[in-house]
Amino acid sequence: MIPLSWFLALSAVLFVLGVAAFFVKRDLITMFLAVEVMLNAANLAFLTFAKKQGYLAGQVIVFFIITVAAAEAAIGLAIILLVFRQRKSIKAEGADLMKG
């Protein structure tokens, strides 16, 4: 059996990579992709704990997370398209209209 801690370690590494990508990248789409990486890291952790506890609720939660990710992708990409139409750029620096 693979130690479940390996899965948790991989999940942690994935999450950190997602956070790093979110801060490093400039364009909105890649930042959004980084959020997806973080969501998947959370999914991996959920499934690991579901296996550890032997209780399926963790897998159902992952199912819901994927649903929410789909909805989020649809809305987020629509917003990115809107930003691109208005500013002709998808750089994150351009969208500072609400900056105080």
Partner: protein, 232 residues
């Protein structure tokens, strides 16, 4: 079928009760005498095995293929981390998204290792399929800086031929296995489709229905957002 694999093939929903006659073998972390299982903290009665105890007793279905599972984990983890790093390092969002498709597909393999075959299929079909295609769609709608430089085109040609060959080989191998008749039974472990479905449509029915509302809201929202403002 050996007793071990018989026990491993039993449904392992939480609270499931295993009859004494199911168990007729001794294990390393517990002992079975006179067809009574003795696990830590268990006293008499029918043998009740919690899923955790099944892991402790090394009754896991993957137990026989331990080395293979570890190898698979290491390979998949390497692919995942490598492709996420490649996603971070690549400048083109389209290339980033393609690397991420690879990462999510490999992650689906890991989900399979975690006894979640249904979620693994959902991950590959919906995440690596639908959601990432949506990303690539939007990326293609936004004009990008530069296309492939011409010297790279030969590499992409070879790569696409190679990938097509691998895909064809894979399909033929699976087809051959099915036609030869050594198909395996559907997954019967922790996260079998029927178990997940039962939980989803029984205990989590309301969240499930509410999530359909969420999808509708997202659908309407994205249509309204991306609609071109014409004459008002």
């Amino acid at each position: 079928m050996s007793p071990t694999s018989y026990l491993a093939a039993l449904p392992r929903a939480p609270g499931s009760l295993y009859q004494k006659h199911h168990i007729s073998q001794s294990f390393s972390h517990g002992s079975i005498s006179n067809r009574v299982i003795r696990v830590e903290g268990w006293h008499g009665g029918d043998a009740y095995i919690s899923p955790g105890a099944i892991d402790a007793l090394a009754l896991h279905p993957y137990n026989g293929t331990n080395k293979m599972a570890v190898t698979l984990f290491l390979v998949l983890a390497t692919i995942i981390i490598g492709s996420v790093l490649a996603m971070i390092l690549s400048r083109d969002p389209a290339i980033s998204a393609l690397w991420l498709v690879l990462a999510f597909a490999a992650l689906g393999g890991l989900f399979g290792l975690l006894e979640a075959p249904f979620i693994a299929a959902v991950q590959i079909i919906i995440y690596a399929g639908a959601i990432m295609v949506l990303f690539i769609f939007v990326i293609m709608m936004i004009p990008r800086g530069e296309a492939f430089p011409p010297d790279k085109r030969k590499i992409t040609l070879f790569l696409s031929i190679f990938l097509a060959a691998v895909l064809a080989a894979e399909m033929f191998v699976s087809l051959w296995a099915v036609l030869r008749g050594d198909r395996t039974a559907g997954p019967s472990g922790l996260g079998s489709t029927s178990a997940v479905g039962r939980l989803l449509f029984r205990d989590y029915l309301y969240p499930f229905e509410i999530s359909s509302l969420l999808i509708i809201a997202a659908l309407v929202g994205s249509i309204v957002l991306s609609k071109k403002r014409g004459k008002e």
